[in-house]
């Protein structure tokens, strides 16, 4: 038997194509669906065919969601010339997650007014870049607090949803106390929206809860808590952040800083 030496491998490399690491994985497979070890497309196809696909990262696609199952029923009764009714019930939900808690950048004592910069660091970690566009979500109320929703607020919500669909977090400004150190005279602080969960209600409407990370603290358990949520109310995106002392800051989103 011929002994395999480095020289013979070098000779072989001249004659045969060399596959890079990504191509090799395409053939070998063995991904686990994580961001750093994604499934191959072939693995994805095989898992979909067997019905075992539960979502995960796919090579070249990014995060790929499981199939959404919509279930429901309708039924009715009635008679010609009489009355009838139909009704349905069902539920579905989908969610988007962008960055994980190990990408949290909390309060930095060397940069006490740096909440916006901490959000930018988290945005970068999540693959996002600021476009420079600002969407005002609320009018300025009395004493530097957020007022009613602007006519443009729906565009702000759309920008948030689009960023999350693209797998990127998005920075928003919030009001929670009177006065403001910012030029719009209401924004007190910046947070970053990292995910959302949408569910279908029994009345056919949908509700979306947005999760956020908050650099108001350097305690990552509080900064990334699943209790940090925002939801729509009267056209305004509102929610709360529980501080380490148990007090709650009630947030109203005043501005959306869109991604490119």
């Amino acid at each position: 038997m011929k002994k395999l030496t480095r020289k013979s491998l070098d000779e072989l490399a001249i004659k045969m194509p060399i596959l890079d690491e990504i191509q090799q994985k395409t053939f070998v497979g063995g991904g686990e669906g994580s961001q750093y070890n994604p499934y191959t497309v072939a693995e994805f196809d095989a898992m979909c065919a067997s019905g075992s696909w539960n979502g995960g990262y796919v090579e070249g696609w990014g995060y790929t969601f499981p199939d959404i199952t919509v279930s429901g029923s309708y039924g009715g009764s009635g008679s010609y010339g009489g009355s009838g009714s139909y009704g349905g019930s069902g539920s579905y939900g989908y969610n988007y997650t962008t960055i994980q808690s190990d990408n949290f950048y909390g309060y930095d004592s060397s940069d006490p007014q740096g909440c916006y910069r901490r959000c930018q660091e988290m945005l970068t970690a999540g693959g996002g870049t600021l476009s420079g566009e600002r969407i005002a979500m609320t009018e300025v109320g009395e004493d530097g607090v957020a007022g009613a929703a602007t006519t443009n607020a729906a565009n702000g919500i759309s920008a948030i949803d689009a960023a999350l669909r693209a797998g990127q977090p998005i920075i928003v400004g919030v009001d929670y106390k009177s006065g403001s150190p910012n030029s719009d005279n209401m924004t007190d602080h910046f947070i970053i929206i990292t995910g959302s969960t949408t569910t279908l209600n029994s009345d056919g409407t949908t509700s979306t809860i947005y999760n956020f990370y908050d650099p108001a603290t350097n305690n990552s358990t509080y900064g990334t808590s699943s209790n940090n949520t925002l939801s729509l109310s009267d056209g305004r995106l509102t929610g709360s952040f529980q501080k380490p002392n148990g007090d709650v800051n009630n947030y109203t989103v005043t501005t959306v800083r869109t991604n490119q």
């Binding site: 309060y107 004592s109 060397s110 006065g179 108001a216 808590s225 501080k243 380490p244 007090d247």
Partner: protein, 210 residues
């Protein structure tokens, strides 16, 4: 003529005092009433912001070397009416500190006369990234015990449990409404740990055995 001037002065003082009491009542209505005699953490949970106008009238303006002016705001917590005084807890929140410090909330024990005059006040506890405390004692008579844990700056980067020191203080009130602070112990070693339960994150102080 002198009588008329004297009468107008008395009238003016009475009107001013009436306005002060009215303003004080509008301030006090926002505090939660302390229901039980025993002290609990819930008594220190604060809510609505105190307006700048009421802060000017009823909150002591004392400079704080750790907080930037932009970062300070005040919130209502709880109150208890005693025979001659009203005691109240307000929260002074510092969200934007000066460089080198971490955000915190100070709980201030206030003693007011029935007319809204500040008799005495004392910062009794501090909560925040680098502080946590445990409260016990009674409101009637006032015997508020605070175990105040604090983390040194060099330990703030620690992962998991934060090594801390714990000072224990007892606050009582004299018959003329002055707050008396007694140090029960100082610099006991311990840790602040953060856990998560069904209601969200929680923090605990664990004391080291001596």
């Amino acid at each position: 003529m002198k009588k008329i001037i004297a009468f107008l002065c008395v009238l003016n003082t009475t009107i001013a005092l009436g306005q002060q009491i009215e303003l004080f009542d509008s301030y006090m209505i926002n505090f939660r009433e302390i229901q039980a005699d025993t002290v609990s953490r819930n008594n220190f949970i604060s809510g609505k912001e105190i307006s700048k106008e009421l802060v000017r009238c009823f909150v002591p303006d004392k400079d704080d070397c750790e907080c930037s002016k932009k970062g300070v705001w005040y919130r209502y917590a709880s109150k208890m009416e005693k025979s001659d005084f009203i005691i109240a807890i307000i929260s002074k929140d510092c969200d934007i500190t000066k460089a080198g410090f971490y955000p915190y909330s100070d709980d201030i024990l206030m003693v007011y006369s029935k007319e809204g005059k500040i008799i005495d006040y004392e910062v009794v506890s501090r909560e925040g990234d680098a502080w946590h405390c445990y409260y016990s004692g009674t409101w009637e008579p006032l015997m508020l015990q605070v175990e105040q844990a604090f983390v040194e700056n060099r330990n703030m980067k620690s992962q998991g449990a934060l090594p801390c020191f714990i000072n224990t203080y007892l606050y009582t009130m004299t018959s003329n409404g002055m707050i008396k602070k007694t140090i029960l112990s100082e610099k006991q070693e311990g840790e602040i740990i953060t856990t998560i339960d069904q209601d969200g994150p929680k923090r605990l102080i664990i004391k080291k055995r001596k």
